[in-house]
């Protein structure tokens, strides 16, 4: 891997890392959900800092070209993140439904008592 490509990749990864930390500090993401992103960044960083590891891994997994492994890896990672987001959304929509129901029931009860 050329030095310039390495530098660009490093910059890209650091931008993601700092952005995650930034929104984490601002409280726009919870620690629980930021972990998956931090984990992903760490994996990318390891591969970048140790190119030998990267090349070995490409051989072991049977990819012809290194970039193919990167693409495959990234797609797998994004799919995983997407799936976990779907799980989170499903859980939240259940909670929202419960809230709407309980609030509506309580509201009706209160209005009845006020009359």
């Amino acid at each position: 891997m050329s030095i310039s490509l390495q530098l660009v990749s490093l910059l890209f990864i650091l931008v993601i890392l700092f952005f995650v930390i930034y929104i984490l500090r601002k409280g726009r993401i919870t620690v629980k959900y930021s972990l998956i992103w931090i984990f992903a960044v760490v994996v990318l960083l390891l591969l970048l800092l140790f190119p030998k590891l990267f090349i070995e891994l490409t051989k072991i997994l049977g990819f012809n070209v290194g970039s193919n492994m990167v693409f495959a890896g990234l797609i797998a990672m994004l799919m995983f993140i997407n799936l976990s987001l779907t799980v989170i959304i499903s859980g939240q929509s259940n909670k929202v439904r419960l809230l709407i129901q309980e609030v509506s029931l309580l509201k009706t009860k209160i209005e009845k008592q006020e009359k």
């Binding site: 129901q101 609030v103 029931l105």
Partner: protein
Amino acid sequence: MKVLLIIPAYNEEKNILKTCKKIEEHSKKYDYIIINDGSKDKTGDICKKNKLPCINLIHNLGIGGAVQTGYKYAYENDYDIAIQFDGDGQHDIRYVDTLIKPIELGQTDFVIGSRFVKKLSKFKSTGVRRMGINLISFFIKIFTGRKIHDTTSGFRAVNKKIIKEFSMNYPTEYPEPVSTTTLLKMGYRVDEVPVEMNEREAGVSSIRAWKNIYYMINVILSICIVSIRRYK
């Protein structure tokens, strides 16, 4: 026995008053509660003006979430039997008695008012719909071993045990066939009783995607998933 009619209503301003009048004319025995599922029309105002018992959901939840609110209300207020009854004039109040009879006698836990048993109803729904209903019926038979004829009927009565069950867990997606399958899997007694149904007088059916294959695939998938879940 305390009996509650749960009437889910979404944009039913044209029908809701008529439906409630019919219930009151028929019998004072039955309490009813309208679940106004965040209607955009005057359904809520009509309920308020005419002092109809009504729960206004603060946001639209869809038929499953609305009906579940009714079951929660039934559970909190200690009702013995709850009946789902459509606000659009499709269901006939005279059949409520036949619907709840098997439950009152303790013969069953869950009764579905069916259009297809004994061919009582003139209104049978369109051909495509019937095909869909039959296909769902076929899959429920495969997974539970029971033949349910009218799988999408929204005219159903449940006993106290199931009121509690439904108030805690009720499917929000494709609630009718999915809840029936769940109850069968849990070992509850399910029965079908022949009823007549009318064509809706105004408003739109909650199942708009009928012609859509997507809907069928989703329902069948839901039934499969519900069937492979574990129940203690």
